[in-house]
Symmetry: D2
Subunit: 105 residues, 4 copies
């Protein structure tokens, strides 16, 4: 993943785009791209064209990785840390087969 | 990244949560988590607590990875493919230092 | 506002679009249109073209009104009810000039 | 609707909250509230508690009305203007019973 982050950073440096990529702007961008993904499911739960859907997921993840780089966060580390926290919040025995929020248990 | 995806899949299997994770529901979830990230920047462009921000980014990426797994997409591959496409749409010489959309050039 | 809701309902009936307008789809649509609004502020806090911004706000509100109609909610009533609830949660004397969430007081 | 906008403005003035309500922050807030609405449909297309759903719709609309006030837009006027524009883009005879986007016709 580190190599990928470096490739993305290189792409942005070549375009002198870092100036637009404040964390605030990147957070807005993650949301905007997430919504372009959702648009494919707006009126059709099956979701349509897989190529386009893949591109939207890529956009969301790219902005997430840019935000990680900007904030000096390691993406794999924060994902594993969150999973550990979720494992405590949602013990398998207690939540199996249910989609409730943890504060409803 | 493959190992990470497998860990996430394992986490969900243990909880029998796959039944909730249709692509349509995962797309909604990506959007919802992206917004929890944005909340940290709602009234403060500096964004506040870095631990919490990291957790929100982790949530967004986790749902993206679950969606990739569900749709048989390789996250690194779709990110690199999209970057190639963007490199054609936004040639460095033409867009340097500008944030316009490609259809405005 | 009732007259406006009826005009919107009429617009949709003429196109036989009610079949697409489940509450679930309308909720997704509110989010998607809200994001098109946010796009105008993605890299520019000043926000750009006021006509386009007005159109995006109109889209958000239209989907909200359609959702109200579908769920038999009176928009003015739910707005005033929520304001009363907020007045209790955020007493003017306590929160003046601060943007914290109520659970931080 | 004008009376309602004035009540909301009064609520914010009493709390000296106008300083937080730049259009950029309000646009983010519309998106965030829209997502709290969507959360009720995240894993359940039926959507759950109608009172809570009504409150989320109210929040979205309230921020839209605050944005209108801030930008000197009349909400009923922009909604009707957009409907006229949509009537041209989506003539009833052509789009009846279809959910495609106008650029797909």
């Amino acid at each position: 993943m580190k190599k990928l982050i470096e490739e993305i950073a290189q792409f942005n440096r070549e375009r002198d785009w870092d100036q637009f990529h404040t964390p605030n702007n990147l957070a807005k961008s993650v949301v905007i791209e997430a919504n372009e993904l959702l648009e494919h499911y707006q009126f059709d739960p099956e979701g349509g064209d897989i190529i386009q859907i893949g591109e939207e997921i890529a956009d969301v993840m790219t902005y997430c990785l840019m935000l990680c780089e900007r904030l000096n966060l390691d993406p794999e580390e924060i994902i594993r840390d969150k999973m550990k926290k979720n494992a405590l919040k949602y013990p398998a025995d207690k939540v199996r087969g249910r989609s409730n929020k943890y504060n409803e248990y």
